[in-house]
């Protein structure tokens, strides 16, 4: 769990709770702090409380309990327009009755900036998002991707140090989304701004963020850099939510030398890394990534435990092969193998033995 009292915290949530109806907590005891310049993504399924957190930070929702601090100052009682936080909305929220230039000039006008200065800033920021020649158009005359760039420019034009983004790429097609992910990340790094980014798309979260906070049920389940999140999920929700995962259920038989021996419910013994289990007899859910499963015995430890498996289906996906197996009574066990010249294509119906390195297989909470 995150340490809520970092010295260099720029944005800080301190024991924040939020309830809309007085009966259910949407956000339960949120502690989070991020330093200046960090790109933090709040990732989670819908209803997990991530957007509510963002809205509390922006000032559109008030925290039921706890403090939100910006640069050390509590901002609970500061109205949104005085917080100076840039925000990119899900559907861009570009003002339809204004041109692009007027949209960008709006935050500067309300800050009583002179005309010449405004024009220079608008021009600069438009060029930054490569929309220089579109200043005179209306939002409805732009494509989704272009509107997205303008929305980003508008959140940046008044030089906010903190920019919030609420699923900004949700409405774009896949290819454009990938381009924009890169673009947003590049601009954020160049300007050194702090970004809090909300999404339910894990690929987006993994590619863009410095750290990812995985939300579920109003709590942060894990807060970690993308590689840690992917490779060392701390509980079975995170393991399931991030990337593809095979899970097997069983009981811990013994823990020895940092390796847990798990008796699977469907039969078979496997070696795991104990993460949420401490002693023999505990129920556990074992998680292993499809690409870490080996079926070539020569590449495993001689004394490693293996499982019998039957090949049910072989799917050619271009860069990888995806094979579905029946393992320990479950029919949804997936393995992925790289499409290399020497790679074996498994025949459906054939019997194989699978295994893995004990550290790739994590014994999590049941």
């Amino acid at each position: 769990m995150a340490d809520s009292h970092a010295e260099d915290a720029f944005v800080e949530f301190d024991r924040v709770q939020k309830s809309y109806d007085g009966e259910n907590l949407v956000v339960k005891d949120l502690n989070l702090s991020l330093p200046k310049g960090e790109f933090l993504t709040m990732l989670g399924p819908s209803g997990s409380g991530k957007t509510t957190c963002l809205m509390m930070l922006a000032g559109f929702e008030t925290a039921t309990h706890g403090d939100i601090r910006l640069d050390g100052q509590p901002i609970n009682n500061i109205p949104p327009h005085k917080r100076g936080i840039g925000m990119v909305f899900q559907n861009y929220a570009l003002f339809p009755h204004m041109t692009i230039a007027e949209n960008l000039s709006f935050p500067l006008e309300v800050r009583k900036m002179g005309k010449a200065q405004r024009e220079a800033k608008v021009k600069h920021v438009l060029e930054m998002v490569q929309m220089g020649e579109f200043g005179g158009r209306r939002p409805s005359q732009l494509s989704g991707g272009q509107q997205q760039r303008v929305a980003l420019a508008r959140a940046l034009v008044f030089e906010a140090e903190l920019v919030l983004m609420d699923e900004p790429l949700g409405a774009l097609d896949k290819q454009l989304r990938e381009t924009m992910q890169f673009e947003i990340k590049r601009i954020a790094d160049n300007l050194g701004i702090t970004v809090v980014y909300v999404t339910h798309d894990q690929t987006e979260a993994l590619t863009m963020s410095d750290r990812v906070a995985v939300f579920e049920d109003g709590r942060i389940q894990q807060l970690a850099p993308p590689d840690q999140l992917y490779e060392s999920p701390e509980n079975s929700f995170v393991a399931q939510f991030i990337g593809e995962n095979n899970t097997l259920e069983g009981t811990v038989k013994e823990i020895k030398n940092g390796i847990a021996l798990v008796q699977l419910d469907g039969g078979g013994l496997i070696d795991c890394k104990p993460v949420n289990v401490t002693k023999a007899g505990e129920r556990t859910r074992v998680s292993i990534r499809p690409e870490r499963v080996e079926f070539d015995k020569t590449r495993l430890h001689a004394d490693a435990h293996t499982l019998k498996a039957e090949v049910l289906e072989f799917i050619y996906m271009g860069d990888i092969f995806r094979t579905r197996l029946r393992v320990a009574g479950k029919e949804d066990f997936i393995i992925k193998s790289r499409n290399a010249p020497d790679q074996v294509r498994l025949e459906p119906g054939s019997e194989i033995e699978i295994g893995w390195l004990a550290e790739d297989c994590r014994a999590l909470d049941a």
Partner: protein
């Protein structure tokens, strides 16, 4: 990201087929007919089917809506009743000097005698009188009373003299045969015209002019012609005899007869009105509608004390604007609240907005009478609160205040509904976005929300303004004399004074004003900026 590249042959096939169509200039369909024609043929059937589907409504609208409006516009210029019934008079009045104060001479009275006698027989003389009475009061009774007496004029002396000369003149057939001779008819134009008008009327009544009892004015017209013109050589003997007799008869002086029946015939003003309204079409109704009148030398303003309509038009415009304005002021916040409440609550409150529609307009207006009168609820409350003194009770009804209050209430839903439906489409994120960009509540509203709601204001304003400019019942009930609209005057002319021509002209002007305002609105705001809903 590698892009999929087309095989090279694909663009080549496209290019080889392109020059064919470009050279021939015409694109052909598969069977060789030009593509355009075959497209038109395919679409024509669809269009016809669509037309057949809307035909009932189209016919209904044409018959019940377009046609009455056309008829109204026509009535506002139509004046055929005068030239149709007084042709002889009008012809003779042309040479009369309308600027003098002299009444016309005997010849005009001869024409009027025949016209009036025929009109009296047709029983239309009162309608001619009413028509002229719109322009000059007194004309109605002049025509009515004289029409009653015209049959007792001494002019049957001519008939008696003719019959004494030759009994053949008793026979209607004699007249009929006489005017079949073209030369005779040309030599005796007045008599021929009169015979034609009479025989046409008799035929229309379903009788035979050759057997119908003759009217004395036929003989009178014949006498006037014989007196003034020569009989052609081809005329029958009895006509030649009558021509000889005509020189000897002492004519019956018509002026004393007319003056005896009604002395107002001596008034040159009455004759001037007949002369002014002699045409088939007249702009008189329109001139009347803008407080002008047709004088001898063209249009002129009416005297101050007779002016009415311009004041009414201006008052109607100003009060409609005030009503529209107060509807915006009262309706905007309500629509805002409705649009920002959860759907369930909003629907429930919407019933309250629509509730007035389910109550009779008369009931609602009458309720305002109770509320606003001197001893009414509002005044009582103000007195009780000590805001006004008991002897200083406010006059809230039977004046413009009453009309404005009651009509604002009645027309409010027409403002709220379009506003609400437009506001519903404005996402609340715009306000959030504005605030996140640093705008305070007011700036966010005024710069971001309000401009987007303008189409709703536009639609509501057009609805309310156009409805109120033509409103009638409420001003009639609560407006008193100072709070009535032009529509009340139109209603008066339709149902009380029966001057439909003037009512039609007022209505046409009202229509023109509305269209003009609509056009101006389009120029200023743009009609595509008007939205009734999402």
């Amino acid at each position: 990201m590698a892009r999929f590249t087309f095989p090279l042959t694909y663009p080549r096939t496209v290019m080889t087929s392109a020059p064919d169509t470009a050279l021939s200039g015409k694109v052909l369909a598969a069977d060789g007919t030009p593509l355009k024609r075959s497209l038109n043929r395919a679409l024509r059937r669809q269009k016809l089917r669509a037309l057949a589907l809307i035909a009932p409504l189209l016919i209904f609208v044409l018959v019940t809506f377009i046609a009455p409006i056309g008829d109204m516009l026509f009535r506002s210029v139509e004046n055929q009743i005068v030239p149709d019934n007084l042709p002889e008079t009008i012809m003779r009045l042309e040479s009369w000097d309308a600027n003098g104060n002299e009444m016309p001479g005997e010849d005009v009275f001869e024409g009027m005698y025949v016209d009036l006698a025929l009109a009296a027989e047709k029983k239309v003389h009162t309608r001619v009188g009413s028509r002229l009475n719109y322009e000059e009061s007194g004309m109605s009774s002049l025509f009515r009373k004289t029409g009653r007496k015209v049959s007792r004029f001494e002019t049957d002396a001519y008939e008696d003299a003719l019959r004494a000369l030759d009994p053949i003149w008793k026979e209607p057939a004699t007249f009929a045969d006489l005017f079949q001779n073209a030369e005779v008819a040309a030599a005796l134009p007045f008599a021929a015209r009169t015979w034609k008008r009479w025989s046409t009327f008799v035929t229309e009544e379903g009788d035979d002019p050759r057997t119908q009892k003759l009217e004395p004015y036929l003989s009178a017209a014949l006498y006037y012609d014989l007196r003034d013109n020569d009989v052609p050589a081809s005329a029958p003997a009895h006509l030649k005899a009558a021509d000889a007799l005509a020189a000897e008869i002492t004519p019956v002086a018509l002026i004393p007869e007319f003056l005896d029946a009604e002395e107002d015939w001596a008034d040159a003003g009455n004759w001037r009105v007949i002369q002014t309204y002699a045409g088939n079409y007249t702009n008189g109704y329109f001139l009347n509608s803008i407080d002008m009148m047709k004088g001898v030398d063209g249009a002129e303003m009416r005297p101050e004390n007779e002016r009415l309509y311009i004041t009414l038009f201006v008052r109607t415009m100003i009060m409609s604007l005030v009503i529209t304005g107060s509807c915006i002021l009262l309706g905007y916040p309500v629509a805002w609240i409705l649009a920002n409440l959860p759907a369930r609550t909003a629907n429930m409150l919407m019933i309250l907005v629509l509730l007035p529609f389910w109550t009779s307009l008369l009931v609602r207006t009458s309720a305002w009478k109770i509320m606003l009168q001197q001893q009414g609820v509002v005044n009582d409350t103000l007195v009780w609160l000590g805001i006004v003194a008991n002897d200083g009770r406010l006059a809230l009804i039977n004046n413009q205040t009453g009309t404005i209050i009651a009509m604002t209430h009645i027309l409010l839903p027409f403002m709220i509904l379009p506003l609400y439906s437009v506001m519903q489409t404005i996402s609340p994120t715009y306000l959030r976005a504005a605030k996140s960009l640093g705008a305070n509540n007011w700036t966010a509203f005024w710069r971001v929300y309000f401009p987007q709601s303008v189409p709703g204001i536009g639609a509501g304003s057009i609805l309310v303004f156009i409805l109120s400019i033509g409103y009638y019942i409420t001003p009639e009930l609560v407006g008193g004399t100072k709070g009535v609209f032009i529509s009340n005057r139109i209603a008066f002319h339709i149902s009380s004074s029966l001057n439909w021509g003037l009512a039609a002209a007022l209505g046409a002007i009202l229509l023109a004003v509305v269209l003009l305002l609509y056009w101006a609105y389009d120029k200023v705001v743009g009609i595509d900026n008007v939205k009734l809903g999402g």
